[in-house]
C-alpha cells in the first residue's frame, strides 16, 4: 500500500445530529428562544444597585440571630413533624386504592383514565398553592397543612405504586383466577405481595419529603415552623426569623447528610 493512497484523508468527528439542516435549525431555535426569553425579563440595573443597601438593612436587622424564644421554635418544629407524620400515614393509605384505580392492567379503561387524571391533578400543583387554597377553605393552621400534604403524598405515591402494579408478574394473577378467586382475593394474593415492599419504601421516602414540605407550607399559614417563621417576619422580628431559618436549614442539611450516609452505606 503506497503512502499516496492514504494521503490527504481528512477525518471529522460525525456530529451528534446527522442532518445539517436539523442541527443548525436546532441551534438557531435555541438562540432565538434565549433571546426572546431574556428580553422578556425586565432587568433594571439601577434597581439592582439600589437593592444592596436595602438588603444590608434587612441582614443588619437579622444578625445576630435571636434564639431566645427557642421553645416557640421547638414547638413549631414539633408541629411540622406531627403534620408530616399524619399526612404521610393517611396519604399512603389512600394512595393504595387510588393506585389500583390508575393501573391499566387491573381496572377497565374508563376507570383507569379517571384514576390517572385524579393522580395527575394531585401531582401538578406545588404544595404551596394547594396550601393556600386549603387555608382559604378550612382556615389557618395545621389542618390545612395536613390536607395539603395528603394531596401531595397521594400525587407522588399513587403514581409510583400504579407503575409497580403495572409491572407485576401476570402469571400469578392467572393462577389465582384459574383457582376461582374473585377480584379482591386476586389483588390480595397475587398483586399485593408483589408491590407491598415497594409501598413501604415509598412511604418512608415520602415521609422524608413531607417533613421538608411541611416546613414550607407553613409559610402560607398551614401550620408548623413555617407559620412561626412568617409570624416573626410579619412582626419585623428579623432576628428571630433568621434564627428560625437557620434552624430549618440546619435540620434539612443534617437530614441530607444522614440520608446520604445511609444510602452510601446500603449501596
Amino acid at each position: 500500500m503506497s503512502r499516496a493512497a492514504t494521503e490527504g484523508f481528512r477525518w471529522r468527528k460525525p456530529p451528534f445530529i446527522a442532518n445539517p439542516a436539523l442541527r443548525y435549525g436546532i441551534w438557531l431555535a435555541v438562540a432565538a428562544y434565549l433571546a426572546w426569553a431574556v428580553s422578556s425579563i425586565p432587568i433594571d440595573p439601577q434597581r439592582i444597585v439600589a437593592g444592596f443597601p436595602r438588603a444590608a438593612q434587612i441582614f443588619g436587622g437579622a444578625i445576630p440571630p435571636d434564639f431566645a424564644r427557642w421553645q416557640l421554635l421547638l414547638s413549631g418544629f414539633l408541629e411540622s413533624i406531627q403534620i408530616a407524620l399524619i399526612a404521610t400515614a393517611v396519604g399512603v393509605v389512600l394512595s393504595v386504592p387510588l393506585a389500583i384505580l390508575s393501573a391499566r392492567n387491573v381496572v377497565p379503561v374508563p376507570v383507569y383514565v379517571l384514576g390517572r387524571a385524579t393522580v395527575i391533578t394531585a401531582r401538578s400543583f406545588h404544595p404551596v398553592i394547594v396550601a393556600i387554597i386549603f387555608v382559604k377553605a378550612v382556615g389557618f393552621g395545621a389542618l390545612a397543612g395536613i390536607l395539603t400534604l395528603i394531596v401531595y403524598t397521594i400525587g407522588f405515591v399513587s403514581k409510583l405504586l400504579a407503575e409497580a402494579i403495572e409491572e407485576i408478574d401476570w402469571g400469578q394473577v392467572e393462577a389465582m383466577q384459574a383457582a376461582g378467586a374473585n377480584y379482591l382475593k386476586v389483588l390480595l394474593y397475587a398483586v399485593a405481595p408483589q408491590v407491598m415492599p415497594r409501598q413501604i419504601g415509598l412511604a418512608l421516602y415520602q415521609l422524608d419529603i413531607n417533613l421538608r414540605a411541611s416546613t414550607v407550607v407553613g409559610i402560607v399559614g398551614a401550620g408548623g415552623i413555617g407559620s412561626t417563621l412568617m409570624n416573626a417576619f410579619g412582626r419585623y422580628d428579623y432576628d428571630f426569623a433568621f434564627a428560625i431559618l437557620i434552624a430549618i436549614i440546619s435540620l434539612v442539611f443534617a437530614t441530607e447528610i444522614v440520608s446520604g450516609r445511609i444510602r452510601r452505606g446500603i449501596s
Partner: protein, 265 residues
C-alpha cells in the same frame, strides 16, 4: 391454627409476630402523639368537607375574562423555568466535578463540592426567592436565580453520582496517552455521563415548571402574583382558570419531557 388433631400450621414464628407487633405499636404511638399534638380545632375538621365543597362550587365555572394576562404570566413562568434550568446546568457542572470522588482533585474540594450540593438542596426555593427579592427587587430575575440555585444541588448531586459510576477504563486509557486533565475529562468522562446529563436536565426542567408557579407569591415573577391577587380579592372563578392553566402547562411539560428523554436515551 388449631391443634385439635391434625397438623398445626404456624404462619409466623413468635419472634416475627413480636417484631411486627412492636413495629405497629411504634407507628400507632407516633400517630396518636401527632394527632394530640397538632393545634387543630376539631369542629373545623368535621366541617372541612362542606367547606371544601363550598369553595369548589364558588370556583366553577372558570372565568376567562383575564385569559390574556394569565397566558402571558404562564409564558413568563415557563421562561423562568427554562432559563433557570440552563443557568443551573452551567453552574452545576463544575460543582458536580468537585463533588464526585473520582474527579475531585483532593479531599478539600470533594468536601466543598458536597457542601454546595447539600446546602443548595436544603434551602427551599421560596426562601431563595425571598432572599433574591430582597437583594434584586421583585421580578422574574429574582425568580430565575432562586430556581437556578435550588436546582444546582439537585443537578450537581445526580451528575456527580453519574460521574462516580463511570467505567474507569476509558479514563485510564486516556491518561495513558499522556493527555492532560481537560482532555481526559472531555474524552473519557463526558461521553459516559452525557445520557444521564440530558435525562437529569430534562427532569429538573419539568420539576422547575412546577416550582416556578409559586415564585410570584413572594414577588419573584410568573403566574404566582396573579394567583395571589385573585385569591386575595376572592375572584374564585379566576383562580380556577389559573389553576387550569397551571395544570395544562405542567401536564404538557410532562409529555414534552417524557418525549425528549426517550429521544435522548
Amino acid at each position: 391454627m388449631s391443634d385439635v388433631g391434625g397438623y398445626r400450621w404456624v404462619r409466623r414464628s413468635a419472634a416475627e409476630r413480636l417484631a411486627r407487633f412492636a413495629a405497629w405499636l411504634v407507628v400507632v404511638a407516633l400517630l396518636v402523639w401527632s394527632v394530640r399534638g397538632v393545634d387543630i380545632f376539631w369542629p373545623w375538621v368535621v366541617d372541612a368537607p362542606a367547606q371544601i365543597a363550598d369553595l369548589l362550587g364558588r370556583m366553577s365555572p372558570p372565568d376567562p375574562s383575564n385569559l390574556d394576562l394569565i397566558l402571558a404570566a404562564m409564558l413568563q413562568t415557563i421562561h423562568i423555568a427554562t432559563l433557570a434550568t440552563l443557568l443551573a446546568l452551567v453552574l452545576a457542572l463544575p460543582v458536580a466535578y468537585l463533588a464526585a470522588q473520582n474527579t475531585s482533585p483532593n479531599g478539600a474540594t470533594l468536601a466543598l463540592g458536597r457542601l454546595i450540593v447539600v446546602s443548595t438542596r436544603s434551602v427551599n426555593t421560596i426562601i431563595w426567592a425571598l432572599l433574591f427579592v430582597a437583594i434584586f427587587g421583585p421580578g422574574p430575575l429574582a425568580g430565575i436565580l432562586a430556581v437556578a440555585f435550588r436546582s444546582i444541588g439537585f443537578l450537581g448531586k445526580l451528575i456527580a453520582e453519574a460521574i462516580e459510576e463511570i467505567d474507569r477504563r476509558p479514563v485510564e486509557a486516556m491518561e495513558a496517552t499522556g493527555a492532560n486533565e481537560a482532555k481526559v475529562i472531555a474524552y473519557g468522562v463526558v461521553p459516559q455521563v452525557l445520557p444521564t446529563f440530558f435525562a437529569v436536565s430534562i427532569l429538573r426542567w419539568d420539576i422547575n415548571i412546577r416550582e416556578s408557579t409559586v415564585l410570584g407569591l413572594v414577588g419573584a415573577g410568573g403566574i404566582g402574583l396573579l394567583l395571589q391577587g385573585a385569591i386575595d380579592t376572592f375572584k374564585w372563578q379566576e383562580v380556577s382558570l389559573i389553576l387550569l392553566a397551571i395544570l395544562s402547562v405542567v401536564v404538557a411539560g410532562e409529555f414534552v419531557s417524557g418525549w425528549l428523554r426517550e429521544k435522548v436515551i
